[in-house]
């Protein structure tokens, strides 16, 4: 039975729906199916295939990383940030996850007729501040205006070019049994902050988005353990669970998590309980997951914890050989369960 399911899970993805639903944007299974069945199918090329945070390119003697993300978060302003710093940090982080130093960003704005110029200024100011903090320059851009009712105020697409300065081989496919899995801090704060900011559920809690540029902490990690970091992933849409499923699947290993080790702030736990969510699936925008050689896990943890953005880092699990392709959780209760890829949940737009 398990084999049969695994065969099905690995077979060529097919879109059954005739129309795009919100699930296709939620970062879970439906998103993966869409990407694989439509985008990969149409654009198939060796650089795109690995579906990592960005593509690695060669330009003369220099290796580059190149990435893009569109930001459609609602609301545009939320505790801890806004769409502007999200758009800068998100792309900076995808470059950092490739082991690159983020250098140049582009920004494409799609503005809705009627959008307040003052809000646009607030957004560009926070983009400028985020770019300065991340040591990148926004070097090219574009602006389109669409009719009222054809957008939601402001959408931003940023792309980034980074320089890979020390050759590292990072990939979700490089995890091996015995490796350690580390998260850089408490999870789920961005997603929880957005849900509360939407005010759809009448819930209030002192939760702020964790949006932050991760290039600095990643640089220190790579400097400390140049050859023992296997994979880096920022845990955005779909959360830590989704990232680890990608690792398990790409590396053909099992990831075994220990529930008590997973750092979650009590307020995030509270929101998840009230709404029936699992923090493992809730997005972060300033946390990453790294897989490191198990023997250097302690050193990696110490390095992360000495950086302000890694104070709450924790080793949350290990990589095992079997059951390959799956993420398991040892629950605090002493049991074990599978942590599967999210089935498209119609959660609010978070990035």
């Amino acid at each position: 039975m398990l084999d049969r399911i695994e065969r099905i899970r690995r077979r060529k993805p097919v879109i059954r729906e005739e129309r795009i639903t919100l699930a296709h944007g939620a970062g879970g299974k439906a998103t993966h199916t869409l990407i694989e069945a439509v985008f990969l199918e149409a654009f198939r090329n060796p650089l795109l295939a690995p579906l990592d945070d960005g593509a690695l390119l060669r330009a003369g003697d220099q290796q580059l990383a190149f990435t893009t993300d569109s930001y459609v978060v609602s609301p545009l302003f939320f505790p801890g940030g806004d769409i502007g710093d999200l758009a800068v940090n998100g792309t900076v982080n995808d470059l950092a996850m490739c082991g690159a130093r983020p250098v140049h960003l582009s920004a494409g704005f799609i503005l809705e007729e009627g959008f307040a110029v003052a809000d646009l200024r607030r957004i560009t100011d926070s983009m400028a501040a985020a770019a300065e903090a991340a040591e990148v320059a926004i070097v090219t851009g574009d602006t389109k205006v669409v009719q009222r009712g054809k957008a939601d105020g402001c959408y931003i697409t940023t792309s980034g070019v980074g320089l890979v300065e020390q050759p590292v081989t990072l990939s979700a496919a490089r995890a091996r049994p015995g490796d350690a899995v580390i998260v850089s801090g408490p999870i789920g704060e961005h997603g929880a902050a957005i849900m509360l900011a939407r005010d759809d559920f009448g819930i209030e809690a002192p939760i702020r988005s964790d949006t932050a540029p991760l290039h600095g902490i990643v640089r220190e990690l790579l400097a400390a353990l140049p050859s023992h970091v296997r994979a880096l992933r920022d845990a955005t849409r779909g959360g830590v669970a989704t990232v680890l499923n990608e690792v398990a699947r790409s590396s053909e290993v099992a990831v075994v998590l220990q529930e008590e080790q997973i750092p979650v702030r009590p307020e995030v736990t509270g929101v998840c309980e009230l709404l029936g969510l699992d923090p493992l699936y809730v997005a972060c925008e300033g946390r990453f997951v790294t897989v490191v050689d198990g023997e250097h896990a302690g050193q990696a943890l110490d390095t992360l914890r000495s950086h302000p953005l890694g104070e709450g880092a924790a080793i949350v699990g290990t990589v095992a050989a079997a059951p390959a392709g799956l993420v398991l959780l040892r629950t605090a209760f002493g049991g074990t369960r599978v942590v599967d890829v999210l089935v498209g949940d119609p959660l609010p737009r978070i990035c």
Partner: protein, 384 residues
């Protein structure tokens, strides 16, 4: 006390697991049904079965309201949602439930205005804010949820709201359990009773199960230790030759239930002569409709409904799973044609559905799980 972590303690669980193992009579196996989908969810989410000896076998009952809703009612709800000017409101659980012509999510993608709410009161808020729209609340759930719907309707009536109605699909647990008990192919040794339903109806309504069918029942809470404790209580009854209704969840469940909740249901709703449960067929007196006094709030009267019964897909074995006759993975389409992404049966939709819970959280032999989980954490390894 937070009434949560205290009931998730691994040490207490291990101690209890030892007692449970001791309580099993050698050579005998025990099959208990947890009636409520919330229990199913807890069992898989916490990996509770790792604490049960092989002699104790849990089967998952019909107490997931999303799982028992028949396809025709989903189609009716989508029909309402498609009417001009309608805003359909629904709990998130319903969004992916397939009717004969797709789910709420599909209907929404095709243009219907369907919104997720956390509470029926949020639907009322939407109705107040949109006086020119017709706001319908898709009411589902057992007796746990029915009082909230009833209170919301009473509030709407008090405010004189004329653009709010309820598409009432509330179902009742006792007739569903009775249908299970009456099915010929069933072998159960006892029931883990639904804690939150019981907070409303109390424990007394279950007494016929012990008295007439000779099966013990323990009303249980939703933390994993609650369920383990209830298993121990069931085994103890069996060992001591007792057959009673016991209340493990007395911190929440009063023996006689919630008088105000029951009277709210009684005012706003009336018993339906019969109602279809997916997989179980039509069950007499098993569901609630809006009472005549609140006809103005009854979406079944406000809108013309097609009301077409839709046969379950041939390959669907939800009925057997709901009766505990088949384990989820014994269904022919489990995990292949039927997955949480592409559910054929409703048990694959809600995370309280037995199939979805098993697919998402289980999908492993207990032995494999335990082997994998035996790997030490890397920190332990590297620091050792």
């Amino acid at each position: 006390m937070r009434f949560v972590d205290e009931f998730r303690d691994a040490d207490r669980a291990r101690a209890l697991a030892a007692r449970i193992a001791e309580s099993c009579r050698p050579g005998r196996t025990y099959t208990f049904m947890e009636v409520c989908g919330g229990h199913t969810h807890t069992i898989y989410k916490h990996g509770l079965e790792d604490h049960l000896p092989p002699e104790v076998n849990l089967v998952h009952g019909p107490g997931c309201p999303v799982c028992v809703i028949p396809m025709g009612r989903v189609d009716d709800a989508i029909h309402i949602a498609r009417q001009p000017g309608v805003i359909m409101t629904s709990f998130g659980d319903m969004m992916r439930v397939p009717g004969g012509t797709g789910s709420f999510l599909d209907a929404k993608a095709a243009g219907a205005d369907i919104r997720m709410v956390y509470s029926p009161l949020d639907a009322l808020k939407i109705a107040r804010a949109n006086p020119d729209r017709k706001v319908v609340f898709m009411a589902i759930g057992f007796e746990t949820t029915a009082p909230s719907t009833a209170m919301t309707v009473l509030r709407a009536a008090e405010e004189g709201l004329s653009n709010f109605s309820v598409f009432c699909n509330h179902v009742m647990i006792i007739p569903a359990v009775k249908a299970i008990l009456d099915s010929p192919d069933l072998r159960l040794d006892g029931f883990i009773g639904p804690g939150h339903v019981s907070a409303v109806i109390g424990c007394q309504p279950y007494e016929f199960i012990a008295r007439d069918y000779g099966k013990p029942l323990v009303v249980a809470g939703f933390e994993p230790l609650d369920i383990l404790t209830s298993v121990h209580m069931l085994l103890t009854q069996l060992a001591e030759g007792r057959c009673e209704v016991e209340n493990q969840y007395a911190r929440v469940v009063p023996w006689h239930g919630n008088r105000i909740a029951l009277s709210a249901i009684g005012r706003v709703m009336r018993l339906r002569p019969h109602f279809e449960f997916r997989g179980l067929g039509f069950i007499a007196h098993s569901a609630l409709a809006m009472a005549d006094e609140y006809a103005a709030f009854d979406a079944e009267r406000v809108f013309d409904l097609p009301g077409v019964r839709v046969a379950d897909p041939k390959s669907c074995q939800c009925g057997e799973v709901l009766k505990g006759v088949l384990k989820p993975w014994e269904c022919k389409v489990f995990g292949t044609a039927c997955t949480p992404e592409t559910p054929i049966g409703t048990c694959m939709v809600s995370s309280e559905g037995a199939c979805a819970a098993y697919y998402n959280f289980g999908r492993f032999s207990r032995d494999q799980m335990r082997a994998a989980a035996r790997e030490p954490l890397a920190e332990e390894a590297s620091r050792a």
